[in-house]
C-alpha cells in the first residue's frame, strides 16, 4: 500500500515539484518531499479502516464457509431450533434472530420517540442556557458502561416491571433489556437528529413564522420534514447500536434461544450467543466454534441492510438548502 502513496500528487501548494526551479527557495526540495510523506501517511490512515473492514469480513466469511460445509444454509435459515452444543445439534438462526429483533424493536420503541422529542426540544425550544445544561446529561447516557446497563436491567428494571406491570414476568426476559437498550441509545438518536434539525436554515423557519405559524407548527411541519434525511440516519444508527448490543441482553435476557415474539419471555440474541460461546472452551475448528462466525456474519449483514436502507432514505429525501 505504501507503494501507491506517491500517486497522490494533487494540491501541491509549492506547485512545482522537485524540478520546479523557477520558484524554488532554499529547502523547497525538502519541503516537497516532506509534503509527500505527510500526504502518504494521511492516506494510509484513511485506508486503514478499509483494510480492517476487509480483514474482518474475510475472517467472518472464510470461517462461515467452513460452517456451511457442515450445516446446510437452508437449515440455518429455516430451522426453528438453535441447539449447537447438544449431541443432536440444530443450527436454526431464527430463534436468535427473533431475540435480536425483539430486543432492538423494544429499544427503538423507547429511543425513537424520546430521542426525537428531545432533539426537537433542544433544537427548537430550549434557551441556549437550558440546552447547555441538558445536553451533557443526555450525552452521559452514552458514556455509561454497558455492563452497568445490564445489571440495571436485571436488578432494577425487571423487579420494577414485576411489581407494577407484569407480576408473572420471569427474572430473565427480553422486555427489560430492550427498554434499557432504548435508554442507552437515546443520545445517539437525539444528537444525530438534533444536528440535522439545527442544520435547517433559519430562512425556512422565518418563512413559516411569517405565515403566522406557532413554534410547535414550525418544529413539526417545517423543521422535522426538512431534517428527515438526518433523522433517518439517526434511526439507522440507533438500530445498528441496538442490534449489536451485547452486554445488556447477555446479562438480563436469559441466554436461552427461544423462537418467540413475546418480549416477556426469556430469549437469546445473536450477540449474546456469540459472547456465551466465545467465552466457553470450545475446541478450535469444532462446529460450535464455527457457528459463532456464521452468527456474526448474519449480524453484520443485518446492520448492513439497515445502513443501506438509511442511505437510500437519505438519498430519497436529500436536502439542498
Amino acid at each position: 500500500m505504501v507503494a501507491e502513496a506517491p500517486v497522490v500528487t494533487h494540491g501541491s501548494p509549492s506547485g512545482g515539484g522537485p524540478r520546479g526551479r523557477g520558484l524554488s527557495r532554499p529547502g523547497a526540495r525538502l519541503r516537497w518531499w516532506s509534503e509527500r510523506v505527510i500526504e502518504a501517511g494521511l492516506l494510509l490512515a484513511a485506508l486503514s479502516s478499509i483494510g480492517i473492514t476487509i480483514a474482518i469480513l474475510y475472517v467472518l466469511v472464510s470461517e462461515s464457509v467452513a460452517f456451511f460445509r457442515v450445516v446446510s444454509i437452508v437449515d440455518f435459515l429455516t430451522d426453528t431450533m438453535w441447539m449447537p452444543l447438544f449431541d443432536d445439534a440444530r443450527f436454526g438462526i431464527l430463534p436468535l434472530l427473533a431475540g435480536t429483533l425483539l430486543s432492538s424493536g423494544v429499544g427503538l420503541a423507547v429511543a425513537v420517540p424520546i430521542g426525537l422529542t428531545s432533539a426537537l426540544y433542544l433544537s427548537e425550544f430550549a434557551a441556549p442556557r437550558t440546552r447547555e445544561i441538558i445536553k451533557p446529561f443526555l450525552e452521559m447516557l452514552a458514556g455509561v458502561p454497558t455492563v452497568v446497563y445490564g445489571y440495571f436491567a436485571l436488578l432494577f428494571v425487571t423487579p420494577l416491571l414485576q411489581r407494577w406491570l407484569f407480576p408473572d414476568l420471569p427474572g430473565f426476559n427480553i422486555l427489560s433489556p430492550g427498554l434499557v437498550i432504548g435508554i442507552m441509545i437515546i443520545p445517539y438518536v437525539s444528537s444525530v437528529s438534533e444536528d440535522a434539525m439545527r442544520a435547517v436554515p433559519m430562512e425556512l423557519r422565518e418563512a413559516a413564522f411569517a405565515m403566522g405559524a406557532t413554534r410547535v407548527e414550525v418544529a413539526v411541519r417545517v423543521v422535522l420534514p426538512a431534517a428527515l434525511s438526518g433523522v433517518a440516519a439517526a434511526f439507522a444508527l440507533g438500530m445498528s447500536r441496538a442490534v449489536g448490543e451485547t452486554m445488556v441482553v447477555a446479562i438480563a435476557a436469559g441466554q436461552q434461544p427461544n423462537l418467540t415474539l413475546d418480549p416477556r419471555e426469556p430469549a437469546a440474541t445473536i450477540t449474546a450467543y456469540i459472547v456465551q460461546v466465545a467465552l466457553g472452551d470450545l475446541p478450535h475448528g469444532s462446529i460450535g466454534y464455527l457457528s459463532i462466525f456464521a452468527a456474526g456474519l448474519t449480524l453484520m449483514l443485518m446492520t448492513l441492510v439497515f445502513n443501506v436502507a438509511a442511505w437510500l432514505l437519505r438519498r430519497r429525501f436529500r436536502e439542498a438548502y
Partner: protein, 254 residues
C-alpha cells in the same frame, strides 16, 4: 392614491444596546408599492421586519413608537398585540427563495392550514387563484404534487409569493425579493409586482434603484437608521429635496 394602509409613527427599534431605527415616520399608501432604499445597514430591512414582528424571534429586540395597521388602527408593534395574529394578516417574501421541503400544493396551502378550521375543498379552492396571481399556475398546474425544491429559482420565488398571497394578506412585505435571481427571473417578479399593486399594498426593500423607479409609486430613503426622505417615486428620483438623498441617488456613496 388615497387612503393609508399602514403608518409608522415615531418608530424606534433596538437590538440590545444598539438602536437600529430612530423615530421613523412613514406612511404606507393603500394599493400602491412603497420602495425602501438606502445603503447596506441603513435600517430598511429592519423597518420591514418590524411590520410583521419578525424581530420577536430573536432575543434582545425592543420596539418603541407605533406602526399602525388600518382600517382598525391596531399598533403592530404594541406589547399587548399578539405577533402571530399580526403575521396572519401580513405576508412576507424573503431575499432567498425559501419554499418548504414539501409539494408545490402544500407550500401554497401552508398558511391556510395554519389558520385551521378550513375544509379540504376550501383550501383546494384557494390554491389555484393564489398560483394564478403569482403567474405560476400554467407552469406548475400539472405537477402540483412535486417537490417545490425542483422548481427554478425564479419559480421558487413566485411560489413564495403565491404562498404569501394564498391567505389574502392586507399587506405584502418583500425583502429584496430579486437579489438572488437572474435578470430574466427578476423581470418576471417585477412584472408580477406591477400586476398585483392594484389589489394589494406592497412594501419592498430593494438595493436596485432602477428597480425602485420601475415598480414603485412611493419611495423612502433610509440612512443610518433614520428616514431621510419620503415622497412620490418620480419626484424623489428627479428632484430630491435632501442633499444626502441626491448624493446617494447619484452614486456618490452607498
Amino acid at each position: 392614491m388615497g387612503d393609508l394602509k399602514a403608518e409608522a409613527i415615531g418608530l424606534d427599534f433596538h437590538y440590545g444596546e444598539f438602536q437600529a431605527l430612530h423615530a421613523i415616520d412613514l406612511p404606507i399608501h393603500e394599493n400602491a408599492v412603497t420602495a425602501l432604499i438606502g445603503p447596506s445597514g441603513c435600517g430598511k430591512s429592519t423597518f420591514l421586519r418590524c411590520c410583521n414582528r419578525m424581530h420577536d424571534l430573536y432575543d434582545g429586540s425592543r420596539y418603541g413608537g407605533e406602526v399602525k395597521l388600518y382600517p382598525d388602527g391596531v399598533n403592530i408593534v404594541g406589547d399587548d398585540v399578539d405577533p402571530i395574529e399580526m403575521r396572519m394578516r401580513i405576508g412576507m417574501v424573503f431575499q432567498k427563495p425559501n419554499p418548504f421541503p414539501k409539494s408545490i400544493y402544500d407550500n401554497v396551502a401552508f398558511g391556510l392550514r395554519t389558520r385551521g378550521g378550513l375544509a379540504r375543498s376550501e383550501i383546494a379552492d384557494a390554491v389555484e387563484p393564489a398560483l394564478k396571481s403569482a403567474a405560476l399556475w400554467d407552469e406548475v398546474k400539472d405537477r402540483l404534487q412535486e417537490s417545490a425544491w425542483k422548481l427554478s429559482g425564479g419559480q421558487q420565488q413566485r411560489l413564495c409569493i403565491a404562498r404569501a398571497l394564498a391567505t389574502g394578506p392586507e399587506l405584502l412585505l418583500l425583502d429584496e425579493p430579486t437579489s438572488a435571481l437572474d435578470p430574466i427571473a427578476t423581470a418576471g417578479i417585477e412584472e408580477l409586482i406591477l400586476a398585483l399593486r392594484k389589489r394589494i399594498t406592497i412594501v419592498i426593500v430593494t438595493h436596485n434603484m432602477q428597480q425602485a423607479t420601475r415598480i414603485s409609486d412611493w419611495t423612502a430613503f433610509f440612512y443610518l437608521g433614520r428616514l431621510v426622505e419620503f415622497g412620490a417615486t418620480k419626484q424623489l428620483f428627479v428632484k430630491p429635496e435632501k442633499a444626502e438623498t441626491e448624493a446617494y441617488l447619484t452614486g456618490r456613496f452607498g
